[in-house]
């Protein structure tokens, strides 16, 4: 039972590995940005919208949080096909990931929004700010700063979960791994390499978010304390 590890047979595929990393990053980045914007809007709807809208968004969030991403990906992919629209697997992947991460972002942002005291909003109102101005300057800005660590964790998880979209043949790192291991028959080595690449990605992405946070949240950078 001796197994000869042979990583060298993977060397010729370095370009494919790199491409896989890049594709995963792209997929995650697009989903993160769209997910954040959508999630923030849903959170506002849930915190401050008319009761019917609160219920609708609430139901949507519950459905997403209580069903597996894999099933959501299949439903988006096959559901769109049923409507007669021929869709690229990558687009379906982005769609499914966005639908998923909007729900989680919504919950995180809602907690952030609700952590702002009513007294703050009253003070802003008494200074003459409009509802929109109050919402942006006094509610959303501190809310985002407060929940930023939770958001970052969520988006790193999203990047790792994007591997699931390989199941509908979207192009990202895991799909690349599947192809390479079937070419080389070096499955174990391939998945070790890809595992390490994901690990490295999670460090890099987390680091990038940290740096971004330091740049944007001046207060945090100067004082070092949470809001």
């Amino acid at each position: 039972m001796t197994y000869e590890f042979d990583f060298s047979s993977l060397l010729p595929y370095w370009r494919e590995f790199a491409e896989g990393v890049w594709l995963t990053l792209q997929l995650s980045a697009i989903s993160t940005v769209l997910g954040f914007v959508g999630g923030a809007l849903c959170a506002i709807a849930r915190a401050d919208g008319p009761p019917w809208l609160q219920r609708v968004v609430g139901a949507y969030v519950e459905v997403i949080r209580n069903t597996p991403l894999l099933v959501q990906v299949f439903l988006v992919y096959f559901g769109i096909a049923i409507l007669g629209i021929r869709i690229d697997a990558n687009l379906a992947a982005v769609l499914a990931l966005v639908v998923n991460v909007v729900a989680y972002t919504c919950e995180i942002m809602r907690a952030g929004i609700q952590s702002v005291h009513k007294a703050q909003i009253e003070a802003a109102d008494c200074l003459g700010l409009t509802k929109t101005q109050t919402y942006w300057h006094v509610v959303l800005r501190p809310a985002i700063e407060r929940v930023y660590p939770a958001l970052v964790s969520q988006y790193v998880l999203l990047m790792l979960a994007s591997s699931i979209t390989s199941q509908i043949s979207a192009e990202e790192l895991t799909a690349v791994a599947n192809r390479i291991q079937s070419d080389t028959f070096r499955s174990f080595e391939t998945y070790i390499v890809v595992g390490l690449l994901y690990l490295a990605l999670s460090f890099v992405v987390r680091g990038a978010f940290s740096v971004f946070g330091m740049l944007v949240f001046t207060r945090r950078r100067r004082l070092g304390t949470p809001l």
Binding site: Q120, L127, L227
Partner: protein
């Protein structure tokens, strides 16, 4: 002399609890009116009604020509004319002192960034905190935060300023610095209505003192005559506070 603030027979209840029971008084331009009384006497509620933060069931309130509680009230215009400072300062924690002050002038009066910054520095200097412009609220003491809150309201150049027990949450040694700022404002001719427990301040600075009890205006007298109240209830109240 025109009344800047005029309450006429105002009634308000919170559910079954009657909080304002026919309150009427007037404040003229440049006057400083102190509203005193026990907790639950309705003084803070009256103040909040003046600024349209609470609704009323009966009566009328007129501020700077605005008919509060009428359907046609332009709330935005009211907010430009009336400034309010709260007991818990309510500074925005994610903004520096300077940014706190600049926010409303840039958003509401549409000032440019540089103009707003200069205005903020001026207001901070007026309350004696010019060197704290770059500090965040959590780096300031309670008294300093309250002075920034006053500067923040001042920056909008209101015609009337309301003060809702602004020193009650402060340690005694920090109260003095806030009262000094308020005294300076009064001497500068600002029309002020303050709900306060500071009897010494009321006697020294207030044009008129209104004593409220059980939701009614129990007695009104000039500030400097605060040691000689007519009603026994006020006599007892002043005696217990001083």
């Amino acid at each position: 002399m025109s009344a800047v603030v005029k309450l006429s027979n105002v009634h308000k209840s919170f559910g079954a609890l009657k909080v304002l029971d026919g309150v009427s008084f007037e404040v003229n331009r440049g006057e400083v009116v102190a509203v005193i009384g026990q907790s639950g006497s309705g003084k803070s509620t009256a103040l909040r009604c003046i600024n349209a933060l609470e609704t009323i069931e009966q009566g009328s309130i007129e501020v700077c020509g605005h008919a509060i509680h009428s359907d046609k009230l332009d709330k935005r215009a009211l907010r430009l004319d009336v400034g309010i400072v709260f007991q818990s300062y309510n500074l925005f924690p994610h903004l520096t002192a300077e940014q706190n002050i600049m926010l409303a002038p840039t958003c509401v009066r549409k000032l440019g960034k540089k103009e707003a910054k200069d205005l903020a520095r001026d207001c901070l200097a007026r309350v004696g905190l010019a060197e704290k412009a770059d500090h965040y609220p959590e780096q300031l003491s309670g008294g300093q935060q309250q002075r920034v809150a006053i500067a923040r309201s001042l920056a909008m150049q209101p015609k009337v300023m309301l003060f809702d027990e602004v020193t009650s949450a402060l340690d005694p040694q920090l109260t003095g610095e806030v009262l000094k700022v308020m005294e300076d404002l009064a001497r500068g001719g600002m029309t002020m209505i303050l709900v306060t427990h500071e009897m010494g301040f009321a006697r020294k600075v207030a044009t008129n003192v209104i004593y409220m009890r059980q939701g009614k205006v129990w007695e009104t007298l000039p500030g400097h005559q605060l040691e000689n109240p007519s009603t026994p209830e006020l006599r007892e109240f002043v005696g217990s506070e001083l």
